[in-house]
């Protein structure tokens, strides 16, 4: 009994902390965009050289196949 009477308030504190954290996340817009971040990590960051290559290639539409 005594153990339960201590542990339950501790749980309540933890739940309260969890709720506070969730409210904070909602308030700061963490849940506003659920689409982009989900797959953004799949996209490789291109190095500058590769980006320049791509830009140069794209700028030359007459490039033969």
């Amino acid at each position: 009994m005594s153990l339960v009477s201590v542990l339950i308030p501790v749980t309540m504190l933890l739940v309260g902390f969890g709720l506070w954290a969730f409210f904070w996340a909602v308030r700061t817009g963490q849940f506003d965009d659920l689409d982009i971040p989900a797959w953004e990590i799949l996209v490789d960051e291109q190095s500058d050289a590769a980006a320049a290559d791509a830009a140069a290639a794209a700028a030359d539409p007459e490039n033969p196949a």
């Binding site: 009994m1 749980t11 309540m12 969890g18 969730f22 909602v26 953004e40 700028a59 539409p61």
Partner: protein, 838 residues
Amino acid sequence: MPFAGCFHCGEPLGQSGYAAREPLRVRVQGTDVSVCCPGCRAAVQLIGELGLDDFYRFRTVVSPKPADTACAWSAYDDPALLQTFTRDGPQGRNVVLMIDGMTCAACSWLVSRSLQHLAGVRHVSVNTATGRAQIGWDSTTIKLSELLGVIASLGYKPQIATADNEAARGQNERRGLLKRLAVAGLGMMQVMMFAVAMYAGDMQGMETDVRAYLRIVSLLVATPVMLYGGWPYFAGAARALVKRTITMDVPVTLGLMLAYSASVFNTWRHAGEVYFDSVTMFIFFLTVARYVEMVARHQSTQVSDSLGRMLPATAHRLSAGGPGAAVTDIVVSQIVVGDRLLVRSGEVVPADGVLTKSSTELDESMLTGESVPVERSVGDRVTGGTINVGAPVQMCVTAAGAGTVLASIVALLTRAQSERPRITRAGDRFSSRFLARVLIGAVLVCAFWSIVEPGRAFDATLAVLVVACPCAFSLATLVAVASANAALARRGVLVASPDAIEGLAKATRVVFDKTGTLTDGVVAISRCNPLGASSAAECLQIAAALEVGSEHPIARAFTDPEVGREGLQAHDVQVVVGGGVAGIVNDKRYKIGTRAFANGAASPPSALADEIDDAAVFLSSDDGDLATFALADEPRPESARTVAALRGQGLGIEILSGDSIVAVRRLARYCCISTFAARRSPAQKLERVRSLTSQGEFVAMVGDGINDAPVLGGAGVSIAMSRGSALTLASADLILIGDSLNALPEAFSLARRATRVIRQNLVWAAGYNLTAMPLAAMGWVPPWAAAIGMSMSSIVVVLNSLRLIRSGLPRPARPGAAPLPLSFSPAMPAPALRNPAP
């Protein structure tokens, strides 16, 4: 993801339909790809330069085609105007944009990344579900017009979210509901744990002070759930009672109040049973259903927004004065009644008004769904949102902003969307009747036990009330409809009206419109009949040379913007509005256009008479007629497949078209449809649908034009293409987004599954209540069993409904993925057509 057709926008390459021309090529990630037009090529190049090529690997829908005409974004840099729709924040100036065409996660990523690449942009947050972007930028480094220009060159259409706080409202609603969901969910878990302990205690024995302690803790946890999580239902019930109506919120509130106050009372008197677990779980499930419904609703608001987006962003205002009047670029919201505006060729008419100078042709497909332009001359009314495909004109504004036809259509749709589903209302009525009987029953039970054995009266009465709580009833339709809406939205079908799912499930016959529905609405040359000595290929070359300078939609059928000429050049080209084009090719004078324009009095060979429909084009030289071109719009690549799939589901298929019999018969043959009718006016269409209905058929109508709007209204359930006219969208129950029929068969089968699930849910809920209530009234149901039974009945209903979302994985839309023989191209002559000898 590779698409057939243009690499960027997915439209077929070499639209012109005759000789396979060399398409435009562009290099992406080391491989050459084909694009359909310079706009798309510029977009692909821009994306490549920004190093965002990965977009093409991850996108799930084709991208929108960049607009041909440049927009005067610089009008947005006017400092006084900027003040009205931007505000200062910690991140510099802030603005909310609605971005049309941004429909997938990859699109949002592309928009957000390409803006972040610009110097001076400090913060970009994009919401795919609502199609809105919030941008914070440093106004000293970069101008707003540059930001808008980048978005436009990617193919999306940016628009300032002026004076509407809908974005903020949507965000607040979403955030608020998420918080309530968290409170209800976490609270439910806690109370559930205590409840399990107490159930175990009931069986194995438990010290009374431990039980009392657990009850008090449950009360403490359940109270915030009840007050915070349950607040929307209480508020809704109060609103309904004030209006003297019964909504679902009323029985829900009553059930919650009864169970909660009984539990509080029992906790206080240390006797009887508590139902905190049921209360919290019920609130949690209701909130989940409400959240799902909100997501679907936000997605369909996007559609009504895009109607408003049919207006251009800027307009050209003429200052009062003579012929040399100065032109100022203004933002469309600055237009006032009485303004004189210049509408250049290819631009969208920005407001309602009257033409004051010169006549032109307008593409009114926004209103009518028909792609053939109509002629308008001085004094004629023009409607905002239509496209000027002829000469530059001046107009005097008679209505702007909220007073326009377009705005009234948008308002109509918004009102239609705010209605709640009829099937849910039926559930409301059912459960409030049920609840009334339960209350009477509870009074009788209470009276009975008070006489027979007063000690058991309270427990027995409470058990009756808790067992009969309409939770399962209220969830039965709500969660099923929400799940079905979500599942449909994932497949590209937006539910815009209350009765859509019920109607789809009941449908026995599907009636299609032709133009824009089974066909893509883009005019193409279906055949060329040479009449003189020149071959078909020569005639097409001459025609292309003449038409290359014309902006007319029919001209586009003859020419690709860049590769149109193939060696032949036309001089002295004259465009006659409402007639055609005349010019000199190879030192010879040619005319192309309507019969009257091209060949005057000469009549075509009689053998051709029935081949010629409205859209025929004539080519003649000074020596006589050279050729006629039959025009038709191509069937959508998925039309035949969709029709076959619908027939496979046991649905009757029919075409009702306003077009000529030749075109309709050809399409019917292509799609294997045996029942079709041509040259039908809207009234005749409606009559046909009514007669079908009186024969006991339940008709689903699929259409896109305003001429379909009355039929859509008269049909049992109506489905509109997302590119259809605004009025059609407003009168439709469902909207096919992505401008494709692919999702249609699945929508029908999903709706049928949804109604099956609703029926199962109602039978289950009614069965449970009818079995448990007599037992509870007799005092044979221990209150803990009543609580478990009530929770279980809700869980069964929710899980059963969720099957709808999980059934079948969504397939990415891939227009033209399956190659189908297109018998419409002259390169593959349709065997069914007679080939009249010249």
